[in-house]
């Protein structure tokens, strides 16, 4: 078994602004592009579509832009937002989950806890945990195989 650190990223940051302002910055399509992707789609409801496009800077063709996409799993205004994050065009990219948890702390500040989980980073796990990984790879394989044939 491995520690959880091998499969998730956890970051904490305190922002000197109230939760509603922070929530808007992480969930509003227009505000997102002010600090994060070049283009943002985020439908504010459970099951809503998420797609962030990052242009390749200093590049004439934009063929190599990357666009992670997924769907909204949780949407609680001013408190929490969670969505899947996948790269369908990158072989071996796992189905990861990004979760933003906001907490109102004193002096009108907001504590953000960001967790990006679902990275497969273990070799010695028990089978049940492994199964999803193998299923994933085998699914991928079918795609890869069809391309090669």
């Amino acid at each position: 078994m491995i520690s959880t650190n091998d499969r998730e990223i956890r970051k904490i940051v305190v922002i000197d602004a109230p939760p509603d302002m922070v929530f808007k910055a992480i969930s509003d399509e227009k505000e997102l592009t002010e600090w994060f992707p070049d283009l943002a789609v985020l439908e504010p409801r459970i099951g809503g579509k998420v797609r962030f496009t990052f242009y390749r800077k200093n590049s004439e063709n934009q063929d190599r832009d990357h666009s992670p996409e997924g769907e909204v799993l949780e949407f609680i205004p001013n408190q929490k937002i969670s969505y899947t994050w996948e790269h369908k065009d990158v072989a071996g990219f796992p189905r990861t989950i990004v979760t933003w948890q906001l907490e109102h702390i004193g002096n009108n500040k907001t504590r953000i806890e960001l967790v990006h989980s679902g990275f497969i980073g273990a070799e010695n796990e028990m089978y049940d945990e492994h199964r999803e990984g193998w299923n994933y790879y085998l699914d991928r394989l079918v795609v890869y195989y069809n391309i090669k044939m």
């Binding site: 970051k11 922002i15 071996g92």
Partner: protein
């Protein structure tokens, strides 16, 4: 895991699983180790760790940008009031 162990869990023949595993190995998604006559397979975790490290760095940078953006915005709105 050995191909025979994997085959138990999929609706595929052992030969089918073995073929798939060889392709996964060629695509660098799994690692293969020979144990006598048998081949042992494991996920290539280096590939996923590389992805994870990329995102670790990316989130650090972007959380700083987020902090800057929101705090600047708050400051500007405060001035207007």
């Amino acid at each position: 895991m050995f191909p025979s162990e994997l085959a138990e869990h999929f609706d595929m023949t052992l030969a089918g699983v073995s073929t798939h595993l060889r392709i996964l190995r060629d695509a660098d998604l799994v690692k293969e180790k020979r144990e006598g006559q048998r081949r042992l397979y494991s996920l290539n975790t280096e590939a996923t760790l590389e992805i994870k490290n990329f995102y670790d760095q990316m989130w650090s940078n972007n959380l700083n940008s987020l902090k800057e953006f929101v705090e600047n915005k708050k400051r500007k709105e405060g001035k207007r009031k």
